[in-house]
Every structure is written in structure tokens, then in C-alpha cells.
Symmetry: C2
Subunit: 391 residues, 2 copies
């Protein structure tokens, strides 16, 4: 049989990162490639206790169909958490999704017509390119500096392209680890106010700040924006729960799209996560994760400074799970990848993260998933590979 | 702010059924409207035991990111179950989804360009119209008789419209309860063989046959088709797990689309369901469900025959969860709905289930979710309402 697929499928290659992850399944390889939390960060004893309670006390409800919008007490918990940050988000403005990834798909589905302009950061979160890409927009990317997106580029792009969406990860961005300064957040909000471009703020790492001054989401200064969140980094990614907040008019469309996509997210999982968040000490759990990741990040940054050749640059993020490395001009991280694999160390070449015109001398390193021993050994191997490539 | 949405959102109203379900939240209302399994059919004690085992023994794996394709042992279980039905489906031809609803969304996403022709049954599963509808196809519907889809209509539609997809629920269809005869299954397969129309066979109720001769899926006679399955009716809908099987070339695209949609389905849920299916007596559990639903179906059918006025017709399904009632010509089930609500009994007016040109004198009754007492009282009230409408 001759299968003919929709034209949108021609636009989206299978994730490069997934292909890399397959290569790195070899247990001898030290992988800084994935974007995985550290398994020690999972509260599985607590989750086990909570699962028993939920199934004993509300088993019939937990296993039955639920509301598309999500489990109401979980929506309320999310709303209250925002309130503590000084953000007003009603429970009715929250839709529970399968991780924030599904939030991106739903945003693409409800907003994007073919050839609509979408602004992204340069580089940007790869999976957002995939989710939005299936709705066939035209991407335009905006330069990042260490304080966030370049405001002049944003202003010009808004004027020139009248984009439908601007997608950004203002806190501890994947892949760079860059976080917008308070001032930059306000400037972005100011530019987008009274503009028909919808700001889509992805914030999966916001709770994982381990140093520096905390900043509120851009949404604090830009009421009518969309804000995505995730339980992947604070509870568990395998349980696949996140959320999307949006103004009422947008929420109606998101609910319609969510319903058509999968009716609702697992009610059992939602009830487990809600009970865990309500009955256990989440702050202590977050503190533990932050402490762990800070140690790993500090170690990786200091080893890079010691061991990598001069001319290699590296971001120094105050939170999240990633570092961004820039090799000297002219060097290719794809070539480095091949050399590094022989040394049994892996990362993601930077080119995967560009919507257009990739910069070939960049790469992403994950520090959250590796023990200190692995970080020491892995950075050592990677330093050797870079020196080999230089020769 | 002036939100502009994608044109596809103009095509899909919010589910009529959901609006009805909201009306029926009043606990005094006896509702035959939803499509819910009976809560007594949920094995929540077993699920609780299994959840504890999974989290104790494989907690770190269950809470970590997983493969987009699904939990391999679960894919293997599905493959083996098909093998026992005489169907050859490799584990690699199985993608785990969030219920079969997500399978429909993914099929739409990978196959449908705007204005592509899609064949559906008349009436058809409402949520398929929603999922596919977001990809803006043109629906054409095919008459059903008690043995399944009308073969002449199918033949003519294939010739005339060169459809991209033909979507059908050949076993205990939602909404009618109709099941294709063995012969009809073979005829459908014969017509679709060597045809570029992809057959999409939705089979959420296949395991819930409580009388009559079992028939294999149409896929048994049509190798290169797509077959959707669900754990919603055999384990739990709230856990939101189903699957889609497709030939390798299609599977590649489905995986790309699934990845962009939500990375993967909850690994914790997949591991729980897999362990339950492997370690517990699923056959005994299915027998219990079938016995329960048969009693409810028998009661509802016999009461309808006794109490509804002459001229009202009703299907007599051999499985599944629904009956389809046809009122005398000229009567409107929407008007009946209003009268019935006053009597505190609810159902879904048939018009929701038509892709085009709805037949207004039809309605769907669910028998799986109500106790025998509720069925007695509810059918009694509904009979009164029909008589009132006749006057």
C-alpha cells in the first residue's frame, strides 16, 4: 500500500535528541545529552504512600473518567502557588496537561495557521520547534544575551512579522541555562502589551533556582499571556503532568483542543500528585533538589574552566538543568560528537536547537542527571575530545 | 487583547455531550447520557497492590522519562493478546497512547490535509468527529444496517471521493451498539484491499462481548490497516491508556507526532497496567464485567419493549455499553430531552453523532453505568416522557 501523509509531516524530522539518546543507551557511555532529572530527586516512597491512600479512599473516582479541565483540587493548588508568587491566576484559568509538552501542542493547535509567524529564542527549546512545527508556521529567531532576549530584535520582529506567537523560556532556558533579568522581563512585557502577538512563557524550571535573586514570571507584568508549568522537575517526569494557564477566552479553545486530543489527563496521576503536594513537605523536597543540582552545576562549571582549552565559553546558570558551551569559532560540535562518542561521553550538538541558520560550534550539557563521579570523568573525557578536535 | 485563533478552531464546537453531562451532575437525575463504565468494574484493590509493587521495585524507572513508543513489556502484552485472537501485530507496531482518543488525534495529524475526504459511519462516534475535525477534512457518512456498514455505499464513496481514511467501530459501535457480521467484515476488507484509503478500526469494546459469536477485527482480513485499542473498558478509563497499531511506515510518523504531542504516556500508569494484566486474572475480571453489563443490557432492552410506546425501535447489541433508540418519524429527541430532564432522566440526543444531515428522532442510551434500580426507574420515566411528547 502506498501511504500518503499530511503535508505537515514533511516539516518535522524525528527528534535528533532521541536518536542521540538511543546511541547513549550503552551503559559505558557517560551521557550529558538527555534532559533528565536525577532519579534520586524522585519522592517515590511518598508517591507510593499517596497512591495507596488515593486508591483506598477514592479508588472509584480515580479510575473513572474525569473532567477535561483537570482535577479541580489540583487546579486550585496551582492557582494558590501562583498567588504566593504574587501572580493572580484563577483555578478556572488552569488546564492540566500531559507535561508542558502537551501545552505547546495545544497552543499550536488553537493559534497557528500555516505560514503564521512565530518568534522563538536563538537557540530555543527543540521540542517546541517540533510541536509548533506540525502546524507549519514560519519561525523567526531572536538573539539571546546573558540577560535574556535582545529587546531591539524583539521590537523589530514584532513590527516586521506581526507574529502570532512569541515563545520563550525566560527562566534557566533549555538549552542555554540563561535567565532573563528583572529589567528584561519588564521590557519584554512592555513591548508585548497592546500587541496582538501572544506571549507563550514556558516555565518548567522556575522552581529550580539554586542561586541568585528570584524573579517573577513575565506574566506578572503581562496579564494576558500564556504560562506553561510542569510537575516533571519538581515531582516526576514519568507521571507526565503539567499545566497551562491562559485568559478565559483562550482557555475555552484550549479545553476544546484538549478534549479532542485525549479527553483528559490521567485522573489517578492527578490525584496522586495533588495529594503529594498537599500532604508532604514540598519545600523541603525542592530544597533537596536545588542543593543537589547546585553541587552538580558548580562541579561541572569549575571543571570546564579548569580542563577545557582556552577559547571555550560556557554559561553559568543560576538554576535549571543545562549548561551551554560555545567552542572557538570554526569548530563543529557535530565533529566533536563523533570524537566524544569514541571516548564514551555524549552531549547534544547545538544545531538541534536553532529554528534557522544553526551555529555549529555550540553544544548543550546536562548536569542534573549525573553523579559527581560521572561529571568528573565525563568532563575529563570531553576535554580530551575537544583538544583532539583542535589538533 | 484581541485573540485570533487558527481557522481549524472554527470547525469544532465544544462537545454537546460534555454540556449535557454538566446538566446531569444533579444527583437526582438518572443519567443514561455518559459513556462511563460501571465503577464496580474497576479493580482498584488490585491496582493499589500493583502500584505499591511497581513503586517499590521500579520506582526510579516508573517516575523517570520513558520511551515515546511506550513501555516495552506493555507493547509485548498487547502483541501477545492479538496473537491469541489470530492477529499478527509485532510489539514494534504498537504505540501506547492516552486512551484511544489520542490515537484518533494522531491519525488525523499524520494523515489529514485540509479538505481531504474522510468516511465515517452514520451515525458515528462523536469524539472522532472532533479529533479529525480539527484537521479540517470533509466528512462523508455511510449507512449502517444491523450487520454493519452498507457495502454498496462504501464502494460508491471509495470511487467518488477517494477518501484518505475510512473510520469505523465494527464491534458494538458507539453510539448504536451495532456489530459487523463476519461476512461484512470480510467484504469491507475486500473493498479496501489494494485501495489507498486507510482503514482506521476503533475497537474499544471488542473485549466486552456478552452474547453471540465472537468475530475477529477487520484487520484480520486487511493487513495494512490501523487498529486502535483501549484499556478504558477493561481496566480503567481514568488511567487514560490505550494504543494504536499500524504498519511500520505509519508507525514512524505516529511516533513523531506522539513525541511532539506529549513525549510519551505516563510510565507509572503503563507499568501499573502492565503488571496488573500480567499478574492478575484478567479473564475472570472480564467475565465479571460482561456478566454485569449483560444483566443491565437485558433489563434495559426488556423494559424498553414493555414500556415504550409502539413504533419506538431499539438496537439489541451483543456487547459494549450502548443502545440506540429510534423514535417514530417526525419526533425530535431534542424535544424529548427537555421533557425528560423535567422527569429527571437524561440521554444523548442522536443528532450529536452525525457528520452531516442528522436524524432527529434518534437517541443513545448507556446501560453500563447504571444499577438495575436506576435502569428500572429511568426507563419508566423516559417512557412517560415519550408518551408525553406523543400527545
Amino acid at each position: 500500500m502506498n501511504f500518503e501523509f499530511a503535508s505537515r509531516m514533511g516539516k518535522v524530522p524525528r527528534s535528533f535528541v532521541r536518536e542521540i539518546l538511543k546511541v547513549t543507551e550503552d551503559p559505558e557511555i557517560i551521557s550529558f545529552a538527555g534532559g533528565l532529572p536525577h532519579p534520586e530527586s524522585f519522592p517515590y516512597q511518598d508517591i507510593k504512600e499517596v497512591a495507596v491512600q488515593v486508591l483506598e479512599e477514592n479508588g472509584a473516582q480515580a479510575l473513572q473518567y474525569g473532567a477535561t479541565e483537570g482535577y479541580q483540587p489540583l487546579r486550585e493548588w496551582i492557582s494558590q502557588r501562583y498567588q504566593r508568587m504574587g501572580l493572580k491566576v484563577d483555578p478556572e484559568e488552569v488546564l492540566v496537561t500531559n507535561g508542558s509538552q502537551q501545552g505547546l501542542d495545544l497552543v499550536g493547535k488553537i493559534f497557528l495557521n500555516q505560514d503564521d509567524a512565530v518568534l522563538v529564542e536563538r537557540p530555543t527549546y527543540l521540542a517546541a520547534l517540533q510541536s509548533f512545527g506540525l502546524y507549519e508556521p514560519k519561525f523567526h529567531s531572536l538573539a539571546l544575551d546573558e540577560d535574556g532576549v535582545d529587546v531591539n530584535s524583539l521590537k523589530m520582529a514584532l513590527d516586521e512579522f506581526h507574529p502570532r506567537l512569541f515563545y520563550a523560556v525566560p527562566s534557566f532556558q533549555n538549552p542555554t541555562g540563561i535567565s532573563y533579568s528583572l529589567n528584561r522581563r519588564k521590557e519584554v512585557a512592555r513591548l508585548l502589551k497592546d500587541n496582538d502577538t501572544v506571549f507563550v512563557e514556558d516555565n518548567p524550571y522556575g522552581e529550580i533556582r539554586f542561586m541568585g535573586q528570584d524573579n517573577p514570571p513575565v506574566k506578572a507584568f503581562l496579564d494576558e499571556s500564556i504560562l506553561l508549568g510542569s510537575f516533571s522537575k519538581i515531582v516526576s517526569p514519568g507521571i507526565r503532568l503539567g499545566w497551562i494557564t491562559a485568559p478565559g477566552e483562550v482557555m475555552d479553545k484550549l479545553i476544546t483542543a484538549k478534549q479532542a486530543s485525549d479527553l483528559h489527563s490521567s485522573l489517578l496521576s492527578q490525584m496522586i500528585v495533588h495529594r503529594y503536594l498537599s500532604d508532604y513537605n514540598v519545600e523541603a523536597h525542592l530544597k533537596k533538589i536545588r542543593r543537589m543540582y547546585k553541587r552538580q552545576r558548580d562541579l561541572m562549571v569549575s571543571l570546564i574552566k579548569e580542563e577545557f582549552p582556552e577559547g571555550v565559553q560556557c554559561t553559568e546558570p543560576e538554576g535549571g538543568m543545562f549548561l551551554w558551551v560555545t567552542l572557538p569559532e570554526g569548530m563543529s560540535s557535530l565533529e566533536l560528537f563523533d570524537l566524544a562518542l569514541k571516548e564514551k561521553v555524549a552531549f547534544v550538538p547545538g544545531q538541534a536547537f536553532y529554528a534557522e541558520d544553526p551555529q555549529h560550534n555550540t553544544l548543550r550539557l546536562n548536569f542534573s542527571n549525573s553523579s559527581e563521579e560521572k561529571i568528573k570523568e565525563g568532563i575529563n573525557r570531553l576535554a580530551r575530545s575537544i583538544k583532539e578536535l583542535e589538533e
